[in-house]
């Protein structure tokens, strides 16, 4: 890897690092002639049970990591989606996904990386360390840099003990605002599920139908789907009791619960496949993120915009993280400008609410213009300086993040 980057840097040949190709912002897309750097053969994983750490090469997949952890009796909680994603890509894009509430996103799990710089040096940053306070945290700078600062070749990733009991609960609501306002209340009673997903019944019913399945909750139009994972049956039961008390206090429709592995998997499957139900008519997926307690405000603004533009904006997302996936759907007679205008209005509202234009997908290639528009001037200037310091000849993943 070092030799490749040395040669590329010498002859100014662009290098495009590529993981599983599962990102959603085209961060791995080559934009000019150059080298596509695939790390898929660097796929070893070993587990250090004593330190609760995985040592994974960049080309190992998320699926490999989950399996290796499971075989060692441990657990990698994060599930950003496609299990074909590579570890290198997950780190480069600081992946998030449905299970980020309890312990955060990719950058919260990565404790060390081995990275090859565009100028050919190999750096080891961090390690199997829980605490590390020596100088600037370059590792965190590289995590989420979307392959523009260095090529991650290996990582040390923190694992957790495997939960012994899990359940998926669906809480139905008649009112959308009430559903979203319920989320902070869950945290306030001290319940921290692995995931809290917001879905709309019409959409999950439609998805289930395509899959030949059925969404198990029949009541209400707006559903919160909670995944609880605890260290014992007793602990799980305690969390369930707290939740039931809260439901009764707030007054929701009748929550249902799945405890069997198969029944839980079916619910997650439908939730994960919503995209399939929409993709034929889909123009763009936004991953706008606001402070969790502002979700209701965001979705209300989005509804108003949908009315104003006379279009349909299906929404679902990681309610516990304030991360909402808004779908811009094809509309007869609309041009790119129309979609862009609607998108920008959503972004403006998001920023007003203290949010960000992307919670997990990143900037990559497709959000560069928006990023330029909404990022702080000085921050952008500093970011460009950082890029220059790492990659003076701009050979590594050019045309990404900045325009």
């Amino acid at each position: 890897m070092r030799q490749i980057l040395l040669v590329a840097n010498k002859y100014r040949v662009p290098v495009f690092p590529r993981g599983g190709g599962t990102g959603l912002a085209a961060a791995c897309m080559p934009t000019m002639s150059g080298i596509i750097l695939s790390l898929e053969r660097m796929n070893k994983i070993s587990i250090d049970k004593d330190n609760l750490m995985a040592e994974a090469e960049a080309g190992a997949t998320l699926g490999d990591l989950i399996k290796a952890a499971d075989e060692a009796g441990l657990f990698f909680p994060l599930h950003p989606g496609d299990e074909g994603a590579h570890i290198g890509g997950l780190i480069a894009c600081n992946a998030g996904g449905v299970r980020a509430i309890k312990t955060g996103v990719m950058r919260n799990y990565v404790k060390g990386i081995e990275v090859v710089l565009p100028t050919g040096e190999i750096l080891i940053l961090g390690g199997k360390l829980v605490k590390n306070n020596a100088g600037y945290d370059l590792m965190q700078l590289i995590i989420g840099s979307e392959g523009t600062l260095g090529v991650v070749t290996k990582a040390w990733i923190r694992l957790q003990p495997r939960p012994q009991a899990s359940a998926t609960i669906i809480i139905p609501f008649e009112d959308r605002r009430k559903a979203l306002e319920f989320v902070p209340k869950i945290f306030q009673i001290g319940v921290f599920p692995l995931a809290i997903e917001y879905v709309e019944k019409e959409l999950v019913d439609q998805t289930a139908k395509i899959l030949g399945m059925s969404w198990p909750c029949k009541e209400g139009k707006y559903h919160l789907m909670l995944i609880l994972a605890e260290s014992s049956e007793e602990a799980l039961l305690l969390e369930c009791e707290k939740l039931m008390d809260l439901c009764e206090k707030v007054g929701v429709l009748e929550p249902i619960i799945a405890e069997r592995r198969e029944e839980q998997a079916n619910i997650l499957k439908i939730r994960s496949e919503i995209y399939s139900a929409l993709k034929n008519e889909l123009i763009d997926i936004l991953d706008t993120t606001v402070p969790p307690a502002k979700m209701a405000d965001l979705i209300e603004s989005v509804n108003k915009l949908a009315k104003k533009y006379e279009t349909y904006i299906p929404a679902f997302g990681h309610a516990g993280d304030g991360n909402l996936h808004l779908h811009l759907m094809r509309k007869e007679g609309w041009s790119k400008d129309d979609y862009d205008r609607l998108r920008d209005e959503i972004y403006e509202k998001t920023i007003q609410l203290g949010g960000t234009i992307t919670g997990e997908h990143g900037i990559g290639y497709v959000r560069r213009e928006c990023f330029k528009k909404f990022v702080d001037r000085k921050a952008l200037e500093l970011m460009k300086e950082i890029k220059k310091a790492f990659d003076p000849n701009n050979i590594l993943n050019p045309d990404k993040i900045f325009i």
Partner: protein, 262 residues
């Protein structure tokens, strides 16, 4: 309608590992859960109860931990749960199991219908249901994939034995059901929490002594025994790339060797 549903707790069959040397299921390798077909049986019972009223009793034979499956059944809509547990029931083959269950049903008294799953995923025999019916001297219909008509004294059913048969059966009767019959509903969180506090009746062999012969239970009552269990080894997939001018011929050779073409 008074309905009895027979359920069994089994290991999660997708996760369970086999101990090839001892020829046994390694039960510690997977969590226990209710046999999936039994959930279809319970759902059928709940739907009948919703239509006709009455009550549902779930009955299971197994170790103490099978209680969790009975609680799950109570949460899903059963009214009463009974666990048959005793060292003297252990090691039973299908015949002794059926005899024990039938004896317990005699003790329970009046019923209109017994519903079972078509089989359990750990044993895979599909024998216990029909054998229970034989011990009780009632008619039975296996592999029911549709309940077409429900009357006070009879049912009109579709039995799917590869070909579908339209069957009328007089009550009281026993049916075993397939997964096609329905989609089991999920319990409400409220009912799950309530079910944790409900009482489960536990009967041992002595509790059944007035209704059956103790020698018919467990190993003693079993007419068959497991001599050996052979666990087929898993074959992984293998990719071969044929290169060069004679690639097609080589491929054909391999396909012939494996009798995939003539």
């Amino acid at each position: 309608m008074e309905i009895i549903v027979l359920i069994k707790q089994v290991p999660d069959i997708e996760k369970v590992r086999f101990d090839a040397e001892k020829g046994r299921i390694d039960r510690s390798s997977a969590p226990a859960e209710t046999n999936p077909f039994d959930l279809n049986a319970l759902e059928a019972a709940i739907q009948l109860k919703e239509k006709l009223g009455g009550s549902i009793t779930v009955l299971s034979m197994g170790p103490k931990q099978a209680e969790s499956s009975l609680r799950d059944a109570l949460a899903r809509g059963a009214d009463k749960a009974i666990l048959l547990t005793d060292g003297r029931f252990a090691g039973a083959d299908t015949l002794a199991t059926a005899y024990t269950l039938a004896t317990a049903i005699k003790k329970l008294g009046r019923f209109d219908l017994i519903i079972c799953g078509e089989k359990t995923v750990d044993g895979d025999t599909g024998q216990v249901g029909p054998e229970v019916a034989e011990f009780l001297g009632i008619p039975h219909v296996a592999y029911v994939s549709e309940i077409r008509e429900v009357h006070q004294d009879k049912l009109l059913l579709i039995s799917d034995m590869g070909d579908k048969y339209l069957v009328e059966v007089k009550l009281p009767a026993l049916i075993t059901v397939t997964k096609d019959l329905n989609t089991p509903r999920l319990p409400s969180l409220r009912d799950v929490l309530k079910a944790r506090k409900k009482e489960i009746e536990v009967w041992n062999a002595d509790a059944l002594s007035d209704y059956g012969d103790l020698d018919g239970f467990g190993v003693k009552g079993s007419k068959t025994m497991v001599v050996k269990v052979v666990i087929p080894s898993e074959k992984g997939r293998k990719g071969i790339i044929f290169r060069g001018e004679d690639a097609a011929e080589k491929l054909l050779e391999v396909l012939r060797e494996n009798r995939l073409v003539n």
